[in-house]
Symmetry: C2
Subunit: 104 residues, 2 copies
DNA sequence: CCTTCAGTTCGAAGATCATCTAACTGTTCG
DNA sequence: CGAACAGTTAGATGATCTTCGAACTGAAGG
């Protein structure tokens, strides 16, 4: 059975501004998002952050439940990507203003 | 003595993204900023929020120290204003994307 | 099959946070 | 002066957050 189970993340219209602000109010999570902006989809191990695996997993959950990232299973890896388009729809220009880069 | 003591708030270039995100990651503070965007400078008592005066004071401190608002003493009142221009300089488009309004 | 690997879940510890009441400071006005 | 007013500060409380190590799950590979 090929299950491409998408982990729970809110639909675009339900992305809440408080949740997004909270998700971005942490240096580690900000680093994660910045690396996703620069490098695109990555596996958990591909991030250059100095926290334990369990802490990193916690941060992914916060970002995912806020609607900032998406995660999909792929074999032994869990691929993480930024919901750039959805964020651009819900809060146009947010990524650009916060990270100083143009949304890809 | 006419003291127009400006309460401590960081210079524009030192406004930190984590502090700003954290400042905006609270419903009450978000309401405060929204009301400042709509109504301009206001005294503390002019805000329509359902928290005690001391809690409101706490939220102003968080917003001020993050660089989101400015406060100046005027007689018996403390006037609060949004640092729209500084925020626009530091994070262009942020207010617009978060609040869905054009920066005045 | 059994080991390794990628990542999560489960407590737990310590820090930070939002909120309140009570007491305080400083200003205005009668 | 003395009372009323605007807002802050202090201290406490309960909730939430970040972090970790240890144990777990599920997939890949020898």
């Amino acid at each position: 059975m090929v299950h491409s189970a998408v982990l729970p993340s809110p639909p675009t219209d339900d992305i809440d501004v408080v949740d997004v602000m909270h998700a971005l109010a942490d240096p580690t999570r900000l680093t994660i998002v910045r690396q996703l902006l620069e490098g695109g989809e990555q596996a958990c191990g591909g991030f250059d952050v100095r926290v334990s695996a369990s802490t990193l997993s916690h941060h992914f959950k916060v970002l995912r439940e806020a609607g900032v990232i998406d995660q999909r299973e792929q074999g032994r890896h869990r691929m993480t990507s930024l919901r750039s388009t959805d964020l651009e729809t819900r809060f146009p220009g947010l990524l650009t203003s916060v990270f100083g880069v143009v949304h890809a």
